[in-house]
Symmetry: C2
Subunit: 225 residues, 2 copies
C-alpha cells in the first residue's frame, strides 16, 4: 500500500512541479513577486491579509488567490478590503492547493497591474508544505494558541518556509505559551527563518510585516526588471 | 491528473477499509469501545487526554494510540499520566493515520484489560476525516481560537463526527468568537452532533466529558457482551 501511494504521488508531484515552473516563469516575466501563506486552520491568515490589504492596498497593487476546501468564505472576506479581484479556489475536499490551480488563476489577473501576489493556502499544516505553487517564498503563520512544539511536530512547513509570522500575540497573557521556546524550536528546524510577531486583531507588530512586504515587493521587482 | 489521483485513492481507501473492518471486529470481540479524536494542530487534543487519563484512569482502563507526523512528543506527554502503555505512531510525513497502523498497534494492547481506547489522530482538520480507523465514533475537537466558521470550511470532519468538543473556553473573554454561531454552523453541517464545552487548561466543563466517556464505555461494552 505504501509503495503504491509513493509511486503515484511522485508522478502527481512531477506534474505539479511542471505547472509550478510555468507559474514562476509567468510571474517573473511580469516582475510579480509572490508569497504562499500556509498554516493550521484558524491561525489568522485571512485576518492578516484583510489588515494588509487595508494598510498597503493604496500603495501596493496586491493580487490574492485564496484556497478553501469547501467554501469561498475567505475570498468573500478579503473582497471587502480591496477593489481588485480576489480569486477563490475551492479544492473540493482536497487538503492543499496545486500549481495548476494557480496557473489557471493567473489568467484572471492583470499581471502588468500587480506589485505583489499572495496565495492563501488551505488551512493545513501538513500537506501544503509539500506542494510548490510557483511562489517566491512560503510564509508559515503560527498562532500562539497552538503550542510551542508545532515546528517540531510539523517540521516540513517550517523547513520550507522563509518567513514565520507568530500571530495572535494579544492572547499571550492568557496562555501558557513560551514565545522564546517556540522560536528556538522553529530555528532548530530552520535556522534561516525570519520572524514577525503580530496580532492581526489589535494590529500589534504589523508595521514590521508591512515594511517587509513593501521591501520584498520592491526588491523582487528590481531583480526581475 | 485528477482522475488518476481518484482511481488510486479509491484503491488505497478500499485497502484501508478492509483493515478498518478487522480493527473494529477485534475491538468488538473484546468489548472495547473506541473513539478517534481529530482536529487542527493545537486544538488541545493532547491536553484533553492528559486530564482525562488523570481523572478517569483509576476507574477506566484506557488505551491510547497517538499519531504524529514526525515526533512522539504527544505519546511522551501522555505516558506521564498513565501506567499503561501509550502507543506512538509516527506517520513519517503522512497527513493522517490509516487503519493498518491501528491494526498493528492492537497487537501491543491487552484488549481484555481495556475498557476504552482513544486514537489521537494527526493534527489536521482535512485528511483524517476521510479515513476510517475502525473506531466506534469520531470526536472533533474545535478550539475557540479558530473562528466560528471552521465547520463550514472543513465540513467533512464535522459531518463524520458524532461528538464535538469546543475547547479552550477559558479564552472566550479575549476573543471575538461567538460560541452560539459556532454551534449553529456545526449543526448546519451535522444536526446530530453532541457538544461539550471545555477548557482543558482550567478544567471547566470537563465533568460532562468524563460523565459521557464513562457512560459511553459502559454502554458500548454492554452492547458487545
Amino acid at each position: 500500500m505504501a509503495v503504491r501511494r509513493i509511486d503515484v504521488r511522485e508522478k502527481v508531484m512531477a506534474k505539479n512541479d511542471e505547472f509550478a515552473v510555468q507559474v514562476r516563469d509567468r510571474l517573473h516575466a511580469h516582475g510579480v513577486p509572490s508569497l504562499n501563506l500556509g498554516s493550521s486552520p484558524g491561525s489568522g491568515k485571512t485576518s492578516l491579509l484583510e489588515r494588509t490589504l487595508d494598510a498597503l492596498g493604496d500603495n501596493l497593487r496586491i493580487a490574492v488567490v485564496t484556497g478553501d476546501v469547501q467554501t469561498q468564505n475567505d475570498a468573500d472576506r478579503l473582497a471587502a478590503h480591496t477593489d481588485r479581484l480576489v480569486q477563490a479556489v475551492v479544492t473540493g475536499g482536497a487538503c492543499h492547493m496545486d500549481a495548476r490551480q494557480i496557473f489557471t488563476a493567473l489568467d484572471e489577473i492583470d499581471l502588468e497591474d500587480t506589485d505583489l501576489m499572495f496565495v492563501e493556502n488551505v488551512g493545513n499544516l501538513v500537506c501544503p508544505a509539500s506542494w510548490d505553487l510557483g511562489e517566491d517564498a512560503k510564509v508559515v503563520i503560527f498562532s500562539v494558541t497552538e503550542g510551542e512544539d508545532k515546528p517540531l511536530k510539523y517540521p516540513r512547513m517550517f523547513e520550507r518556509s522563509d518567513y514565520c509570522v507568530i500571530n495572535k500575540t494579544d492572547l499571550l497573557p492568557y496562555l501558557p505559551f513560551d514565545i522564546d521556546r517556540a522560536v528556538a524550536y522553529a530555528r532548530e528546524v530552520n535556522p534561516d527563518l525570519r520572524f514577525f510577531f503580530t496580532s492581526a486583531l489589535t494590529g500589534d507588530g504589523l508595521e514590521d510585516w508591512y515594511e517587509f512586504l513593501t521591501v520584498f515587493a520592491r526588491v523582487e521587482r528590481a531583480i526581475r526588471a
